[in-house]
């Protein structure tokens, strides 16, 4: 069931109306029922993977909390660690098997000139998201950051909550769990804000992302046919597409949750206003970033072997390097995992490493940066420096998109080389931008994409200046607000494009 289908709209309306009509104590059961209907309608053949994850998460969480109560601290910790490792191996093993087996076979075939057959594996919908969410919960229970859930059906709801299961955000039990299980009454203000958020999400998805998508696909699909200017158009277009698609999808998902009175964690915070790659990852796919920080980065950087390594560096090199090198290594490892999470291909691994290396090296060179800025009389708080940092980060992010979007690492490198060595600025005015009209209504597409980018930029700028659009709208007169909603509602079909693939959210494939 695609988020853009009529069926989904009817499904959500039924779920919302029913949610507020039934007795409050059954509201969470109602959500669970609808979450499973949604999952069954979308990925019925793979529902047992969801059930395995739910059952194993519940059982391990439950037993860990029982053991913590029954045994002394040390013994409990030992047993719990074993249980935790078992659950992590089972769930991440399942994810790895389903997602990476064929990647491994392809590489083994290449490396050993073998003829191993590929497996016919069906990737369960949302597996990357619900696995991370469930395992985050187990780690929290293990670290006693939250109490284990004693009701299996409640945990099942936490794992399968339908608005977020396909593309996140990756929720935390401490925040999401409470909201899911408490009862809610109709909050008209939140309803209206949620409706606006849904409209804005569809605006970003249908007018920005889906309009630019064919141009991006055409350029990245035929890299040898185009000069450097097109590479830049392609990668900038991909920036717009990915942001419009993913953040638009998130807005829709958050809006739908909001209709039930449930606030999901933010996944985006104006990422293109980031002043460094580290800052970018604090603003882009935030819930994945914080998951990685809490469950991978800290465990690695605070581990015994890392502290021994740190001590060794402090003794043999310098105090500063003893502190920064372990952080650098942890960052690179984290982003290697982020890359692998994105997909089973070398290009994603390079994409992850690229980000990890930049963040790692930035950490190592912090003092040098400080000295350089001092020597060049750069004021940290000056507008010029701030804008320079934003542009520099935007450039670095766009370089990473080449790896993310190109079909192979080779294509990505070729496109980057072409950007510099085969620029051909004349294509901007000699009519080449129309690409021989291979893409329908390309001139309108350019205009719509630029206009949509401007709208999104202005709204983001206002938000960056702490002017929250949705909240300020609510202070307007109802007539003005409703006219605005009507305008957005009709602009979506008026200017939006139908994606090539049904449903078509990029991150719904993870």
């Amino acid at each position: 069931m695609s988020l853009t289908s009529l069926m989904f709209i009817i499904f959500v309306l039924t779920a919302v109306i029913g949610y507020y009509c039934i007795p409050k104590r059954y509201q969470w059961l109602w959500l669970l029922f609808f979450s499973y209907i949604y999952y069954l309608s979308t990925g019925a053949r793979t529902v047992y993977y969801l059930l395995i994850t739910t059952a194993s998460t519940y059982l391990v969480g439950y037993f860990m909390s029982r053991i913590q109560k029954d045994k002394d601290d040390r013994a409990a910790r030992r047993v719990n660690r074993r249980l935790l490792v078992l659950a992590l191996l089972l769930n991440f093993g399942m994810l790895a098997y389903l997602k990476y087996t064929n990647f491994l076979i392809a590489n083994l075939n290449d490396l050993l000139h073998a003829q191993l057959n590929f497996k016919d594996l069906l990737l369960p919908l949302g597996i990357s998201f619900y696995t991370f969410q469930s395992m985050g919960y187990l780690l929290d229970v293990y670290w006693k950051k939250c109490e284990a859930e004693t009701t299996p059906l409640r945990l099942a709801l936490f794992v399968s909550f339908f608005p977020q299961i396909l593309q996140g955000p990756i929720g935390r039990f401490s925040r999401l769990g409470k909201q899911l299980f408490t009862s809610h009454t109709v909050d008209w203000e939140q309803m209206e804000r949620s409706f606006l958020l849904i409209l804005y999400g569809f605006f970003k998805k249908m007018i920005l992302a889906d309009t630019v998508a064919p141009i991006v696909d055409h350029i990245f699909g035929n890299p040898t046919q185009f000069s450097g200017v097109f590479m830049i158009i392609g990668v900038l277009g991909y920036s717009a597409q990915l942001y419009g698609d993913f953040s638009g999808g998130m807005d829709v998902v958050q809006g739908i949750s909001g209709l039930f009175g449930i606030t999901l964690d933010d996944n985006f915070k104006r990422p293109f206003f980031a002043i460094s790659i580290t800052d970018f990852w604090h603003r882009w796919h935030i819930t994945l970033g914080t998951w990685m920080k809490d469950y991978v980065f800290y465990p690695i950087s605070l581990s015994k072997w890392m502290s021994r390594f740190s001590k060794y560096l402090k003794t043999h090199l310098s105090k500063k390097l003893g502190r920064t090198i372990p952080i650098c290594i942890a960052n690179i490892l984290v982003f290697l995992i982020v890359g692998v999470w994105h997909g089973a291909a070398w290009k994603y691994i390079i994409y992850g490493l690229y980000n990890g290396v930049i963040i790692g090296i930035s950490g190592l060179l912090t003092n040098c940066y400080r000295d350089w800025k001092k020597a060049l009389h750069i004021q940290d708080k000056s507008h010029g420096w701030h804008i320079f940092q934003i542009l520099r980060t935007f450039l670095l992010v766009n370089i990473s998109w080449f790896f993310d979007r190109a079909d192979t690492v080779k294509d990505a490198l070729f496109m980057m080389k072409n950007t510099i060595l085969n620029f051909h600025i004349s294509v901007l005015w000699d009519g080449s931008l129309l690409m021989d009209n291979t893409i329908l209504h390309i001139q309108y597409r350019y205009i719509i994409v630029i206009a949509a980018c401007l709208v999104v930029f202005i709204i983001s700028l206002l938000q960056e200046k702490k002017i929250t659009f949705a909240q300020s709208i609510y202070t307007w007169k109802p007539a003005v607000r409703f006219v605005l909603y009507l305008v957005i509602l009709f602009v979506i079909p008026l200017l939006g494009q139908t994606p090539m693939a049904e449903g078509g959210f990029i991150y719904a494939q993870f």
Partner: protein, 333 residues
């Protein structure tokens, strides 16, 4: 804001949304011959219907077949008509007419492609009168479609907002008596004539440039299960209602057949075997010698390489089809 006021605003918002939507539909949606087809069904009296793709739409003239079969038939083939559409069209037709025979025009390419959500996607749904069939059809086809296609039917014609002459034409047509009378006259153009029994007579144009841009080639690996599902539904529906079910594939130009021999051969073998296994009468006219019956399947007799016949070619072919249907009728009886 008090809740009562909220309800008023929500009601007003919904009412305005519906009004603007209806207005845009009225202004942008063109008068469609599907509206005439479905209306003519309600007048009753048809014994045979042709359902299927645009090859049938341009290739079967019921007047010619009826002259040979002695029955009254109508052509319900449409461009972009998939088996789901054919199935519900058959049900709708049978609601008003005690059908004796359904002839399904099979284009193998339609079994391996998903319907694109273009202007033809929801035309039939809009044209069907309210009934249980319409509800079933909506649930089967429209629920899964993009909400813009279903809730905002003008979406596929939005570019016409920039064309005042098109808007003017739509408005004039919809206010005319011909529209109210379900007349087919507005569909006449220099290139083609639409007939009341659903046949699109494409006029021959000398030295016209011909393309194959809508050609959908068969590839068994891409077979879509949904087509199977509706094929079986259509077959069962016919069986339950004692309606004869015949499947035909119309001939494409031999130039196209030669160019894509491998795909056409594979499709022919696949469907011949499938129909035999299903005990369904099937004729692939691409593999019948029609020249002996005076029919030349050369591109000069077609509007394009895809297989849309010129009117006079279609009329000749329809006579052959009529003979074939008669022969089948005799064999069955």
């Amino acid at each position: 804001m008090r809740n009562s006021k909220k309800y008023i605003w929500i009601g007003l918002f919904l009412a305005l949304t519906i009004c603007i939507n209806l207005l845009l539909n009225y202004v942008l949606l063109p008068y469609s011959y599907v509206r005439c087809d479905t209306h003519h069904l309600t007048e009753g009296g048809y014994q045979d219907i042709y359902v299927g793709t645009s090859h049938g739409f341009a290739g079967i003239d019921p007047l010619q077949t009826d002259a040979i079969t002695g029955r009254k038939s109508t052509n319900l083939c449409l461009g972009g008509e998939y088996l789901c559409d054919s199935y519900f069209l058959t049900k709708e037709a049978h609601r008003h007419n005690p059908l004796k025979r359904v002839i399904y025009v099979l284009d193998p390419g339609y079994w391996v492609t998903e319907p694109s959500q273009d202007s033809s996607y929801n035309t039939l749904c809009q044209s069907l009168p309210w009934s249980k069939v319409k509800l079933e059809y909506t649930a089967a086809k429209m629920l899964k479609a993009d909400f813009r296609t279903t809730l905002f039917p003008w979406y596929n014609y939005r570019k016409d907002l920039l064309k005042p002459d098109v808007i003017q034409h739509n408005l004039t047509t919809k206010q005319s008596q011909e529209y109210k009378d379900y007349s087919i006259k507005p569909f006449d153009s220099t290139g083609q004539t639409y007939t009341e029994q659903g046949f699109m007579n494409i006029h021959r144009v000398e030295n016209a440039q011909k393309t194959e841009q809508n050609l959908k080639l068969w590839n068994e690996a891409d077979l879509i299960p949904k087509e199977f599902k509706y094929f079986n539904k259509l077959k069962s529906y016919c069986a339950q209602n004692q309606i004869d079910f015949v499947v035909v594939t119309l001939p494409v130009p031999k130039e196209t057949l030669g160019k894509y021999q491998e795909q056409f051969d594979a499709a022919h073998n696949y469907f011949t075997q499938m129909m035999q296994a299903q005990n369904v009468t099937y004729c692939d006219f691409n593999y019948v010698d029609l020249s002996s019956q005076g029919f030349e399947a050369t591109v000069s007799n077609y509007n394009d390489y895809d297989g849309h016949m010129y009117g006079n070619t279609a009329q000749k072919f329809s006579q052959i089809l009529g003979e074939y249907l008669n022969a089948q009728d005799l064999a069955m009886s």
